[in-house]
């Protein structure tokens, strides 16, 4: 027991816990949205987050040309330039994560719902041709060319054999998600320039202490993360509650059949749901790189599991529950590791989940995306 540690560093732990919890919460939103609408654990959502961290890295280094180190120090920027760089990274992450989530939906889930279309067929066909190409070629470039050539005929074949109008069992969605998640992770690990190594992201933001609170230094990156997460969540809540499309999302979450009868384009709504989840994960990814300055091919896995835990903790399908669950989880992990040692961090998270579910079987705030804000 090191309980003296928690007294001395209580506020420190609180601030980092809330910041970490905000990232959990943003990723949890993706899980919760998709679960609320499709009753599906989108296992591959963690890879959408991982793609986001890499998008942020690519935007910073390849697009904006920032070096890792500048004159022996981090490439710090200040003022307007800094804001622009951060916004560009955020945009890059959001766009790529959102696109990734949409592609995932259309290739790996939509055919299972019995409405496979050209887009999904093309993506699946490309991947198939690419895998077949692995048998014959050794260089990524010839693989790509083979993949592109093979896409056409295979896509045409896939379009013919899609099981249209037939819903797959729920477990099939989960396995498809697991497969997609494995494939995305491995693709980054294999064809990424640094293989399975860890990537550093350029540290443009100097992590200065902004102010002191209860004798604890509050660093600027934590403030940005917490405020950014709150802003994004508010925007999402407004979207779901106030707009026409948001009403469609809630309608599908309540009852798919009735929504269909009343003229909601269910496939489009599901697409929007995935897009929203992807964009939130992209935002979370950018903030993650801001705080931790790193990324890795398997970075999403544990974080995804934790975020899903957070979503369940708050009540899955409940947007505000995701926020609460994320922050509770982040705090519990931080206090817990101070009390019992960092090696027990993950155990604490899961035991907390178990205890909460035993006494509140639908999570802290209860479930249902549809009823949360009527």
């Amino acid at each position: 027991m090191r309980d003296w540690l928690i007294y001395r560093t209580f506020w420190d732990l609180t601030v980092t816990g809330v910041a970490l919890g905000s990232i959990y919460a943003l990723v949890a939103l993706g899980y919760t949205l998709v679960y609320g609408v499709l009753r599906l654990i989108n296992f591959a959502h963690s890879e959408i987050f991982m793609i986001g961290t890499f998008a942020s890295l690519i935007t910073a280094t390849n697009v904006l040309g920032l070096p890792m180190l500048e004159a022996g120090d981090y490439p710090y920027r200040t003022g307007f330039q800094l804001v622009l760089i951060l916004l560009a990274c955020l945009l890059g992450s959001m766009v790529l994560s959102g696109a990734g989530a949409v592609a995932l939906e259309r290739a790996a889930y939509r055919p299972l719902r019995g409405s496979g279309d050209q887009f999904g067929a093309v993506v699946l066909a490309f991947v198939t041709a690419f895998v077949v190409g692995l048998v014959f070629f050794d260089t990524p470039k010839s693989n790509l060319i083979f993949g592109i050539i093979g896409t056409g005929p295979i896509a045409w074949m896939y379009l013919n054999i899609f099981r249209r109008g037939r819903q797959a069992p729920r477990l099939a969605f989960l396995i498809s998600a697991i497969g997609a998640s494995t494939a995305i992770t491995e693709a980054v690990a294999i064809w990424g320039p640094r293989d399975r190594e860890q990537y550093q992201t350029p540290r443009v933001l100097e992590k200065k202490t902004l102010f002191q609170l209860f004798g604890t230094d509050i660093r600027i990156d934590y403030v940005i993360v917490i405020i950014g997460a709150l802003l994004m969540m508010t925007a999402l809540l407004l979207f779901v509650n106030r707009t026409r499309l948001g009403r469609g999302v809630r309608a599908v979450a309540q009852d798919v059949e009735t929504a269909k009868i009343l003229g909601v384009n269910v496939d489009f709504v599901i697409l929007i749901t995935f897009l929203l989840g992807g964009v939130m994960a992209g935002g979370a990814a950018m903030m993650f790189t801001l705080v931790y300055d790193q990324s890795k091919f398997n970075i999403g896995f544990l974080l995804g599991v934790k975020s899903f835990t957070a979503a369940v903790l708050g009540g899955i399908g409940n947007l505000k529950g995701a926020l609460l669950g994320g922050i509770v989880l982040g705090l519990a992990e931080n206090y817990g590791s101070a009390l019992f040692g960092g090696e027990w961090k993950d155990v604490i998270a899961f035991v907390l989940l178990l205890v909460v579910l035993m006494f509140r079987p639908t999570g802290l705030l209860g479930e249902s995306l549809a009823k949360a804000r009527v």
Binding site: N160, I178, A349, M358, P361
Partner: protein
């Protein structure tokens, strides 16, 4: 359209397997028994298959010894898939932390035969099965009252908790693991050592046969019917007087026991385990094996387990790309054959058919 028809028949090629089963069912008892005996004999000779001309080229595993692939991977995966099939396929409970029970079984053997005592493997094995069964009951009692998807995340957490606990506690050998685990006792010419993997295969395959026999009895019993009812509609089952909680707990405990059995076999074979042998990803591979083969169908679980274990070894030519290929294959199989390679047959109750309208879909279509 004829082309799409033929394409479709390619994707459902495994239907011929079930046709073979139907044809066999029509034969007399002696024909069926002798066919089964030949199959079992052929499978007992599996370690020698790579020496057979054409077959050998198909099954061989370049770079690794084929018998040790059989014992370390295939036997374990088939056993685990059989056990997980009880939980996921029969009772319809989504368990994402099955590796936890597997680890409990392996660690029980390791502790009792090397770390803290010197018991022989033959004594440790039943204890390991009991301990993992107990773990299943302990985990199941609070969590089986939860709804399906919560169960998934809680079991996932359980798998992680077991691994991290083994990693952190010195009593469990922390991250260095436990070595010098006892091997099964040698019987006559069957010597269980490090040199020859074949005896382990015979032991493992015999275990699989026994487990299959027991599970078949269970599946066709009152318990099996209750699981069926729970999986199809839990509320309806409850209303019809099935004690759903009790039978779910049974499914969990039996699944856990088989997982523990697989773990104890694994520990006895490799003689050295550490927490890295039981990552969370393994749970996911186990689940993939069950669903790939066809959840709810025992033969599907056997085929799925064998494929998931053997394929990455067969395609070592892909080197580090095989996991990627495996992920893509999972998506493709699910997209084009979501019921798994060998789907569960829905038994048509004769008396129900007689009064249902003749559309034939009243009990759910066959696909």
């Amino acid at each position: 359209m004829s082309l799409s028809e033929s394409l479709r028949s390619v994707t459902s090629g495994t239907r011929s397997v079930s046709r073979l089963g139907e044809a066999l069912a029509k034969q007399s008892r002696s024909v069926r028994w002798s066919f089964g005996a030949i199959c079992i004999l052929a499978l007992y000779l599996l370690p020698w298959w790579p020496n057979v001309p054409v077959l050998g080229w198909i099954v061989e595993t370049p770079g690794t010894s084929f018998p040790s692939v059989l014992t370390d991977q295939v036997v374990i995966f088939v056993l685990v898939a059989l056990g997980l099939n009880v939980v996921v396929g029969l009772a319809g409970l989504l368990d994402l932390g099955y590796v936890g029970f597997y680890a409990v079984g392996a660690y029980t053997v390791a502790i009792l035969s090397s770390q803290h005592a010197n018991l022989p493997w033959l004594l440790c094995m039943p204890i390991a099965v009991l301990v993992s069964m107990l773990a299943g009951v302990i985990l199941g009692t609070p969590t089986l009252r939860l709804r399906g998807d919560y169960l998934a995340i809680v079991t996932l957490g359980f798998g992680e908790i077991i691994r991290i606990t083994a990693n952190n506690l010195h009593w469990l050998g922390d991250s260095r693991g436990i070595s010098n685990i006892a091997t099964p006792p040698s019987i006559g010419p069957l010597k269980f050592g490090v040199l020859d993997a074949k005896p382990y295969y015979f032991l493992g395959f015999t275990t699989i046969l026994i487990v299959i026999f027991l599970l078949r009895r269970l599946e066709n019993s009152r318990v099996g019917r209750s699981w069926n009812a729970i999986r199809e509609d839990e509320d309806a089952a409850e209303l019809m007087g099935v004690d759903t909680f009790k039978f779910k707990l049974w499914a969990f405990a039996i699944g856990a026991a088989i997982g523990g059995l697989a773990g104890s076999l694994y520990a006895g074979k490799v003689q050295f385990i550490n927490p890295n042998n039981f990552p969370l990803q393994l749970s996911i591979l186990f689940l993939a094996a069950v669903v790939l083969g066809g959840a709810g169908n025992m033969w599907g679980a056997v085929v799925g387990g064998a494929l998931v274990a053997w394929m990455p070894e067969r395609f070592r030519g892909f080197a580090d790309k095989r996991v990627f290929v495996f992920g893509v294959a999972l998506v493709l199989v699910m997209v084009f054959r979501p019921q798994g390679l060998i789907p569960r047959k829905i038994r048509k109750e004769r008396w129900l058919e007689s009064w249902k309208p003749s559309t034939g879909t009243a009990l759910g279509s066959k696909e």
